[in-house]
Subunit: 568 residues, 2 copies
Amino acid sequence: MLSAFSRHLPDWLRHYRRDLFAGDLLAALMTVMLAVPQGLAYAALAGLPPHVGLYASLLPLVAYALLGSSPTLSVGPVALLGLMTASALAPLATPGTPEYLTAAALLALLCGLMLLLFGLLRLGALSQLLSHPVISGFVSGAAILIIIGQLQALLGIRSDAGAGALMLLDIAGHLHELAPLTASLGLGALLILILSRTLLPRLLHRLGLPATRAALLARLMPMLLVVASVLLVQTLGWQARLPVIGTLPGGLPPLGLPAADWPLVRALLLPALMIGLISFVESISIAQRLASYASSRVNPDAELRALGAANIASAVSSGMPVAGSFARSIVNAEGGARTPLSGLLGALGLACVLLWFTGLLRALPLAVLAAIIISAASALIDLRTLRHAWRYDRADAYALLGTLGGVLVFGIEAGIAIGISLSLATLIWHASRPHIAVVGRVPGTEHFRNVQRHDVKTHANVLCLRIDESLFFGNVRAVEARIMKELKRHPDARHLVLIMSSVSRIDSTALDMLHQLNNDLRQRDIQLHFAEVKGFVLDQLKQADLLEQLSGEVYLTAFEAEVNLGGK
Amino acid sequence: MLSAFSRHLPDWLRHYRRDLFAGDLLAALMTVMLAVPQGLAYAALAGLPPHVGLYASLLPLVAYALLGSSPTLSVGPVALLGLMTASALAPLATPGTPEYLTAAALLALLCGLMLLLFGLLRLGALSQLLSHPVISGFVSGAAILIIIGQLQALLGIRSDAGAGALMLLDIAGHLHELAPLTASLGLGALLILILSRTLLPRLLHRLGLPATRAALLARLMPMLLVVASVLLVQTLGWQARLPVIGTLPGGLPPLGLPAADWPLVRALLLPALMIGLISFVESISIAQRLASYASSRVNPDAELRALGAANIASAVSSGMPVAGSFARSIVNAEGGARTPLSGLLGALGLACVLLWFTGLLRALPLAVLAAIIISAASALIDLRTLRHAWRYDRADAYALLGTLGGVLVFGIEAGIAIGISLSLATLIWHASRPHIAVVGRVPGTEHFRNVQRHDVKTHANVLCLRIDESLFFGNVRAVEARIMKELKRHPDARHLVLIMSSVSRIDSTALDMLHQLNNDLRQRDIQLHFAEVKGFVLDQLKQADLLEQLSGEVYLTAFEAEVNLGGK
């Protein structure tokens, strides 16, 4: 009976080695210590009551532990999705109302269903839709928006001005209305968090702690800050003098599907798709960075399904959209987690917090939450990628800056569309300038090399072109134009040999071009030949009728083509 | 004085050979004979008064003749843009009102300014944004929408039901309300047009005409039909019994910039971008098909500027968006046009029509215009590309069907977005399954080949992988996963040699991956080497610090790598 049941358990659980338990438990405890302040903060960022962030941290951990392919990824509310949730729900409901809460859960549900569907369709390749620079630009832009959005809560200023730069200007104009107590607490907390990220690890290390252990301890500072500020506020009786999060409902999250009506679902479909995409792209990139520690690899299709399930789990427990959290995953991995059991234990820990400890959080100042959000967001701003891209590939740097600017000027959703377009644009840009070389034979060998870089032998009646890219709709025009240019430069050529050693694919647009080229050249009394066509490309070409209509031949090697054509 | 002026004339005009004049003139006359009925029809399709189509045929011909790079492309109103104009303006104004006319001219202006800007930015590569199958699916879908939309006018039925399938159902339900006279005339005209496309050329050919001449004459049938139906209606006094186009304003188009206010401009920006894109993609593909007759090549950047100027010319003469027309360009080319003078003469001919002959068109039945539109649209439905793609590359066929379905279900604008997304998706799809081969040396040679296809020599401590694609964000995950898989299969490998002979580009996402791979492998005590790196790729890699950190070496050839590593 038990063995029949155990057959349905994941591998890691059936073969669990007891010596891993201590590490998994310790990591789970530390993850919970980070998940509580972050959950509260990111729910607030999304315009939701803080306890929703705790709800959204519980069941998703369980779902991911059972289905995910990374043993250490920690799933739950993250800053980026908090911002995106707020942006998606703003036109649809008023923050704090029951409609808003329902819409947030519905958003998580739609997002989860889409990810699950993509996973079942094995669309893991979606993670490759965005280039690193574009993702970096998007995340940096979102982080800046997050920081600006939190300044009000941090300083105790009220602003009604839009978002981004507008809000920044408005806050600057209202700086004299700053609430001294709130601002001192907020700025103090922010200072501590920044120092704990920069100086504390070095200090602890100098005091004799190993470097990774020191960094790990410093990462738990948010929880320490929560405890300290609660004690401070309660001791000094400041509850009435600054905004605190107030009474949180105790107990486990209520379960149930969010109520849905069709107009709301339709309005949420596009935001859910974008949130799903970002959730997936971010989670898989974190999972892959973690994998290089553990040297196990991540399966994108399984990740899609696991993230889908995690979002659905969040939705049915009155939560919000979730994704893999970089900070909590690092704490989990470096805290000693080796299996997903750590995630299950973390969920247990969060359940305990919800059941017995929410009362303690009542006096937590909102300014401290804002400081936690700002500190987390400032870590997301990534100048390193920009610096590298600027040096290595200017087009990538422009794509990064374009996406960053797009997010700041047009907002987070238009920013993703701009990012995808820029990824595509760089592709098309590179594809439209394919590398093609006129080649000749290196004397005394059978090798063919670029005539511009090497001293090679050519024949006036044979033009040999090596095409260094696969042929597809994005570059056929450019390839065709280059071929025509070279034929004009070699007016005596009666044979055009295309050396296809780098061509791994010829799509149907390119096939049309080759057909037309063949016909054009036939009218000009020039024969078209192919050489060094890869086996699987030749197999595909045989399905079309190009080879039958070809005015010339298909040669195995460029050398064979030269032997047959050169003398004529 | 005259020579100073002539220096500013286009080359073809300065060096005009008198013997080309007869051909240019004849072609111009025939083009005008087709431009009049098509202009009227496509303006009606756009919801505009028919004479706007004539306005939009005049100055754009002049603008293109002076700036375009194709000697035979004929620019003016086309069916596809008629539909897109109607779709763009529907939510903004009521057809027939002065606001609607202004909005149409404004749309042409914005479209022209965008194309001009793209041309000045040398973004000719934009024409490569869409694959052939996606364009084919888009055009076929639009053609079906056009045909369904014209059934009302053809049969004399009024329908208020949305568009597409809904309208088709509604018309089917109202078939009993069909107006007998209108329907007979419409269906009769359609029958004649279809027969004149299919049977007439063959008949004329059998009567002794050369095949191309026969096809050319058959293409002038719309004008014959216009004349015949006008005579019929006037003779029988049917003007009151069926809808006719009525009095057209005589004289040349009034000149002036369309009035613009910011909200209208903003609402038209996206449609203008899409219309501009389609105008460009269609025009350049027609220009390129024509170029293979004349064996001259088309310059995409010059085309962008010329089309931009043509649209601006249309806008300032109270017109509508314009593009290259396939039917009129074919008539022009096969009618004997050899230089853009034919376009200038055509504009002159249209001016004469507007000045003196619009009165004759008053009695033209709208049902005949509908038949002309339907006949032209049915020629756009392209099953051949679907058949080819289905056989040759299934992914392309799905992209075609997806775009076609997208246009039919979601409309023309969403259709383009779906088409671009599907073009991108096929790219990412192919990129995510890059070809990578484990290779070994063919004994007795220095050649390295796929171990699965050839009997080659390998070493247990050296794993040689040939990467058959450029490395970029779209395939780095897949390449990395494959490398890891092969390393697992070859547990004794201490050296990984990546043979880069097919790699023409390494973008910064891929560079990150190689960095991480290098670090990972170092921890597992495996050295990473490169071989056969192309010169310009190596130049680029030297700008990054990967080569300095590389655990292994960069070898010129795979053979050199084997000689150095194989024995160790």
